[in-house]
Symmetry: C2
Subunit: 409 residues, 2 copies
């Protein structure tokens, strides 16, 4: 007999988010969630890596943390340290790299050691929705700083720091996604990085650098990471394999000096991150990471081209966007008559999932005309169909864009 | 150039635990940490499972949560639901099973939805150290309830509930490890389970049932789980594959009805638990779980026998313990002259790691004469050597036990 319900209402914490909805499958046109291209999952090479590494080292699964301690599987940390030196200009030892269960755990760990209710952090005013909700859930004040094509607007940041200082507030960190910014997909210029470091150094503000998309730059060079450029340990750096290999792998990493790392480790009491994921990915990456990335980037670029073409065809001048130099998403602006929160809800009814701009901005009202489209997952024909379907919904709800025939006239 | 230090001291939360120490490898005689038997890791069958499941379903790694939603990989949830029905007498659907990153995440999730600073929970007065520290870190009051060979002492629990009620306090839950209790390794009797359910039902107190060792009962039957016996959804049940397959796999599960589960899911914002671990373990378990457990139990039993023999030889009457019907640890009591915290520290200098009783009791001072020995990891000769070395340290520090020659005289 199935158990009867029990009333937990009086026992729950009072500050919980709303209850989750039951799982009902993915929408037909899935333009959210950071999913990746199924054709690009390197299935055969992952099988080969799993066979080799489990066969060779499987006995070590009998110990928590394998034989590598709480920082995570040492061969993976060594791969990451070498990769960061080469690709991001970060000099670090394997002992300054912590393997995390996705870069989301990196966000949580940094927040848990630094943030208390009433604290203040600065974030790019357009930024990853999950970073905003995490900080707000902790009772922390978020101040959004303006962005332009080159990254954080230094004068705007200076004004914020002046204002906070005048009120006796020292922000705990500035959170930034400098390379393939989420959602704008821009890359912060070298000059802007230098100015950002100079200003935050002068003011003693740590930088929390999230580079989870930085492997996906296909147009131009990936710039040196802020952590690599900084002369001190003031930049905390996180990254991920979710975007470069597969998101269902929960594997990210955090780079910090030992004084901070030792505090982070003391609260990472999860018995370690998943060993099979760490072992298989480390074994895979040693041989295949670079060639895989080259292939993945070319496929993502083709999908992006398909998306931009479809948007131009279906939305004409109504959709404004800037061609991104990499990544998996496009940030689109619609005419003032459109409310993308309402558009998102109506689109979902039609089987189309997009992220409304409101969820990706520190000030939700500023996001009213914007939405984010992740293009990595759907095949090209579905991208075309989905954009056409979205245009149809938008037309029904807001009387725009004009029909494609009108656009092409 | 390596980055210069940056002073985070003024930025850290004020309530952090002490900094972690750098990893320096495992001690020579490793009797802590819940590690398992390396010879029993089913290496070849895990390789075969990985090959099959990644080959067949690897493309689904491109989506967060595979195609199974936030509860976790559906075939694994179905295996767990069937296993719980058969082995634990729990009737649940796969949609009442949440895959967690180890049962530790189960502890964290339940605590996060139910506990706020100032709340009160009841725990067995001897219990898992990590459960105690987690709750105390949240600013929650812990009330320890007495245990005897059959489990929670009902009269003691009643007195605690009366006292709390008289002060207007409703405890958030009673945390219990009914089957192979940690650290006592006892199994709560059926009668005691019935009495516990009757009393806590009458008082409206949820039970948080941790059965992470319950697969390892080799002497007698595994009793029906409290969640299976309860007529309502008042028992939250967690379990793990750490003890039955391998601890470096971070795979546990949580069983709850949807009203509570939907709240737990809303705060499990980790992008899902590791997909490769879930897929490989599900594929492995379908064919091999039962035969593997039979073999593992027989090997653990042989190690336990070696440990108990070594303790009798080296400590004679000085060491008191009860032969456990399963599990991976032994709970030992020494004469009143010994302080096991001091013993633990001295032993570690000699390369022997044990858990001092103080860390496994809600009232640390009560644990002064006790220690916990995990026997699953070291090979039998190391168990013998390690116990002899521990006796030597104890003799040097506390003048007991007498030398083995004296014991065997």
């Amino acid at each position: 007999m199935a158990p009867l319900p029990f009333d937990y209402d009086d026992l729950l914490r009072s500050d919980l988010p709303p209850a989750a909805a039951p799982w009902s499958g993915f929408p037909r046109y899935n333009f959210v969630g950071g999913h990746n291209d199924p054709d690009s999952v390197p299935v055969d090479d992952l099988v080969a890596a799993a066979t080799r590494v489990i066969g060779r080292e499987g006995r070590s699964l009998a110990t928590y943390g394998l034989s590598s301690g709480a920082l995570g599987y040492r061969p993976l940390r060594e791969f990451i340290a070498a990769k960061l030196a080469r690709d991001a200009g970060i000099e670090c030892s394997a002992d300054e790299v912590l393997i995390t269960s996705g870069s989301l755990q990196g966000l949580d760990l940094v927040n848990q050691v630094l943030l208390a209710p009433g604290d203040t952090v600065i974030m790019e005013h357009m930024t990853y929705g999950g970073a905003i909700t995490r900080v707000k859930r902790l009772g922390v004040n978020v101040v959004g700083v303006a962005l332009d094509h080159d990254g954080v607007v230094i004068e705007a940041l200076e004004a914020i720091l002046d204002d906070l200082a005048s009120r006796g507030i020292r922000p705990k960190y500035l959170y930034t996604i400098p390379t393939v910014q989420n959602p704008t997909a821009t890359v912060m210029s070298k000059g802007r990085r230098e100015a950002l470091l100079a200003l935050t150094t002068a003011r003693g503000v740590p930088i929390f650098e999230d580079e989870c998309y930085a492997d996906l730059v296909w147009d131009g060079e990936r710039p040196q990471a802020l952590r690599g450029m900084a002369g001190d340990d003031r930049v905390i750096h996180i990254g991920s394999f979710s975007k470069s290999i597969a998101p269902a792998l929960r594997l990210g990493y955090l780079v910090a000096g030992w004084p901070l790392m030792s505090r982070i480790l003391s609260i990472k009491n999860d018995g370690g991150s998943g060993a099979l994921e760490q072992m298989i990915v480390a074994e895979y990456c040693r041989e295949h990471f670079d060639a895989h990335l080259t292939l993945l980037r070319s496929r993502l670029r083709a999908k992006l081209d398909a998306l931009m073409t479809a948007l131009r065809e279906q939305f004409g001048d109504s959709a404004e966007f800037e061609a991104p130099p990499g990544g998996i998403f496009l940030w689109v602006k619609l005419p003032a008559a459109v409310d993308t929160l309402r558009l998102t809800q109506a689109a979902l009814q039609a089987g189309i999932a997009i992220n409304p701009g409101a969820e990706w901005m520190t000030d939700a009202t500023e996001g009213r005309r914007r939405f984010r489209v992740c293009f990595a997952h759907p095949p090209v024909p579905m991208i075309r169909e989905g954009v056409a379907a979205l245009a149809e919904v938008c037309r029904r709800e807001f009387g725009m864009p004009p029909r494609p025939a009108a656009i092409h006239r």
